[in-house]
Subunit: 321 residues, 2 copies
Amino acid sequence: MFQFEELQQQFDKHFSHRHFPAAPASLYDPCEYFLGLGGKRIRPVLCLMGNELFDDILPDAFHVASAVELFHNFTLIHDDIMDKAPLRRGKPTVHALHGEPTALLSGDVMLVVAYEELNKVGSSHTRDIISIFNRTAKEVCEGQQLDMDFEQVNTLSLDQYLHMISLKTSVLLAASLRMGAILGGAGEGNQELLYEFGRKLGIAFQIQDDYLDAFGDPEKFGKQVGGDIIANKKTFLMIHALEAASESRRHELRQLMAENPADKVEKVLAIFRECGIEEWARSLKDQYLKEAFEHLEDIAVWSERKEPLKRLAQYLVQRDK
Amino acid sequence: MFQFEELQQQFDKHFSHRHFPAAPASLYDPCEYFLGLGGKRIRPVLCLMGNELFDDILPDAFHVASAVELFHNFTLIHDDIMDKAPLRRGKPTVHALHGEPTALLSGDVMLVVAYEELNKVGSSHTRDIISIFNRTAKEVCEGQQLDMDFEQVNTLSLDQYLHMISLKTSVLLAASLRMGAILGGAGEGNQELLYEFGRKLGIAFQIQDDYLDAFGDPEKFGKQVGGDIIANKKTFLMIHALEAASESRRHELRQLMAENPADKVEKVLAIFRECGIEEWARSLKDQYLKEAFEHLEDIAVWSERKEPLKRLAQYLVQRDK
């Protein structure tokens, strides 16, 4: 059994080659540039870990893991266009460097290359894996659309946000685990338990993400702390604050969002704290993590095989960057 | 053996159902809207004809044909964003109606649904078919990128334009035929001949397209005649005129393109005519059609099986709309 960091290295070794033809460079160099920005490679490693939970890692798992990572990067390139984001991992985004048309096409061709990786899978389960991949890809698009739709609405319930986040973030983590598990020979029941583990872990992960954006250490976080507040994003924290705050504080929050004063971040954070939001977020996160671990517990394999996943889950929801 | 129109009807019957889930409507209704704009369905029918050239049409051919049509529509939605086109088939484009972010996502999810169709193919040749589909998808993206790159250059050779058009337009026609032929049990040699038939037919088709844009009958053409001239697009006609015209006429052409006077279209058309461009275009088109027919001739099946393809090819390069 390998720990996350070891599998991360194994995946990087497999993945760090040129994925695109040389010409036309105007299309393919931006693709290589974006993949070169790196990232934690969580999703592909989850695929490998899903495989290893049940059996030794097969070569096919690296193809599926690569497809997942290419798909994830395709969504990031297109999300950056939609969000008009200038930076990704501290570097200029593809559209900032090459314009929106080229960024759009680079994303498109990266999705095609993800499917090329899937077409290398030789397993007898290939059709099932592609079917999960496709369903998940659609769900991620749905999540992104709902995220944009929600920017236009005034009030958002926690349930609506959970549904959107589940689609936009969690299902890809969950599906990565499940596709690996299928390659490892897992039965339907174990697959579903692992999927639910991943889905709930993904929600806990997003709570941590929203939390760090507001309360993270600027030295470690690497992004502008308070970015979500400045952009008026409806996060776990903001949705809860709008539900839990007193009438006058709610009014104040709405005014801060409408007027964008210079001291907006510190004023919003003060209201967040007044609502006891740090504790609320921690308890919500712990609840999802607890449920995730219960699903993992129920999977019918030796307990020691689950250790790397447990360790990774703890890291993902406690990370400070 | 069926003629094009009959297969068009069969395909329409198979294809005219809802392809996307109901929710979120903000993502999927634009997809359905765009598919509902119709079109001649040339590519999917070529897939059916490629199959029938060698054997009775298999149910799998309809899945591949649907994937091809969904892919083609995905490229149109994204091309319209890149070209900032307000209209498609006389109706508002997706981004004109719903904004660029939703149009981008609608295209993305349509590509995923194309792969869902491919995942329904049960043939033992599935991997080969998906491999051709993927290679072609990449080439179409390359063609679109080259088309955008060429907007920035001053002079373009006929060879460069042919290469770009081959990628952007011809390879999908050629691949549609070939994927159908694979399902029909064609051998490698026959597949390649049919592919080359499709590729050269595609070039003849594009020559006709460029010709109609300049010299078509406005009543029949359905688009603004002279649109390419107004947009300074480098077409077969413009590239040849810049090569064949006298020094002074070439200078005049460049000036018309730079200054965009009100009588630009008629002045450019006058220079085109002076260069004998109508005859040149007809002869170039005939040459590609002739070569296409020679490839078709060489395919080792009974001559009568080739009749529907011959008839379709004649129609495509002689159409007046």
